[in-house]
Symmetry: D2
């Protein structure tokens, strides 16, 4: 997480402002590494948790966004497996008590996979908004029993479809 990359000029990115999910995810001091900032793999752990909270069905009585419709589990239902992931880090993340805000939307909804786009910011109430990272994950839905890919069903397609936007563009790709 270099202090040296040209960070995007403003926190508001150039991608189309589609409807986004805003998932607060609390840091832990244990996410830091010996360089005293959030380890780059911990950041992916935070994105994983945001994904679970955004898309997996909640237990009765739990709060969850409308997109939380995926029945996930190893004994039954669906496994969500990461096929590919791309991430760019713009600023080192110090420990902070307020949750980070993970903004999420779909870059694409395919037959049995989806492309999830993420932008990770500090807490919206902060004096200065900071964009820490951007990431894209291709998530494949796999039937827990058969181990085979399973279709994005009609309910997912309808609800998740409300959160489709432009996919992220990675400036530093080559």
């Amino acid at each position: 997480m270099p202090r040296t990359r040209t960070a995007p000029r403003t926190a508001s990115s150039r991608v189309t402002e589609a409807r986004r999910l805003h998932i607060p995810i609390a840091l832990r001091w244990g996410d830091l590494d010996a360089f005293n900032h959030v380890n780059n793999t911990s950041m992916l752990k935070l994105l994983e948790e945001a994904r679970v909270r955004a898309f997996w069905k909640a237990a009765p009585g739990e709060d969850a966004p409308e997109t939380a419709v995926l029945e996930s589990g190893i004994d039954q239902g669906v496994l969500t497996l990461i096929a590919r992931q791309e991430i760019e880090y713009f600023a080192p993340v110090p420990y902070q008590r307020r949750p980070l805000e993970v903004q999420m939307w779909f870059g694409k909804i395919g037959g049995s996979s989806v492309e999830v786009c993420y932008e990770v910011f500090n807490d919206p109430a902060s004096a200065e908004r900071i964009l820490y990272a951007r990431s894209t994950a291709v998530v494949v839905l796999v039937d827990a029993v058969s181990g085979r890919p399973t279709r994005v069903n009609d309910e997912m397609r309808e609800i998740w479809g409300r959160y489709v936007g432009d996919p992220l563009v990675y400036a530093h790709r080559r």
Copy 2:
């Protein structure tokens, strides 16, 4: 880590067979997640450890490859920060006692950053060789005290230069 992606046909990839580092990294049962295979973020943890063992200077008496020349530390020396990372997963990784083999080479050696390429296989003594994942990380060298990028020095350039090969090509990018 889908069972569903078209895996590269053979373990021997199409990239130029440059001199590669072969770093054995032991799995831990704790790398598994509730889906009972190695979590996708754990895989990045394994790559991190391979990178440390390949490139960071060893303590007196420790074994290390010739490429282990980077003096790393938070109090002095150099921090190695990940600016971007890209990874594709080809097969789920079960727990196994034999270490995985992380093959590494440089896709590019820049002024104050390097592009590290990885291919992760099971143990070379296994009956059937499996390519689990491919990844590319852009690593920036930052002076621990000033926080500013620092040059890849002559020693690194000379020794690391022996391990430069074609960068990885990602088939599933879009």
Copy 3:
């Protein structure tokens, strides 16, 4: 985290009901292991985070309990090191969106160390209250620069002193 131990009969333990801290700590799905419940070492990670939030000084503008007076850091201030820890698990912890509630108090405040007692419950708003675990940690304060133990200062002694209670008793010790 056996389903088999005799759990304490009621959530309200027999220790003197001293003033306790109540720190909500969110689970992550990544805290689960391949047995599909929160790994026993993840539980200690949750206690670590509760300790940091309870006792370490907050940054300007952050919310924290009155006990958060310890200036912690590797460059200056104080390192808090665990000298010993004891933990008993009463019930397996499933993933849940609502934060767990970590209740904390001091079993003892010594010269340069403190004994921290923990009881970990599910969310207070839950229909049925569950005590998941009890733990005691001996935490030593060490000067970050000299590496030597440092005194519990007057401010800590005064404020932390309001949260001293009976130490936990471990029924299954032998």
Copy 4:
């Protein structure tokens, strides 16, 4: 992991020198926390891995000690759950390339649980031997399907019985 506790005078502890298992476990740089030494919860992760390698049945072709007889798995076989754990830390653990050596033996073999004792040292080839930590874990065997405790069977009892020694005594308990 204080630098301040009275460490046991010699690495050879006072417990009866029963036959012990010696399991090498590699550190990862990622086991360090922001205090730049192995985090106390990472130490428990190392003990977990030592336990898995010592007691869980290996796959065909894998090397394992004779004690590796337990069929573990969430779908069938046995879950090993930690009911209680106690640990004392004697010295901070820096990152090192050589594996730590986890010495293990049984303090007790019960009906459906065992008490596992650990001493964690640096690599036996090191110039100076260092005892980093001692721990005791009570592990309960639970049937994966029924969720009920299951008996230590005759094979376990016979083979594990060769590694029974005096349980650890904790000097700093109170």
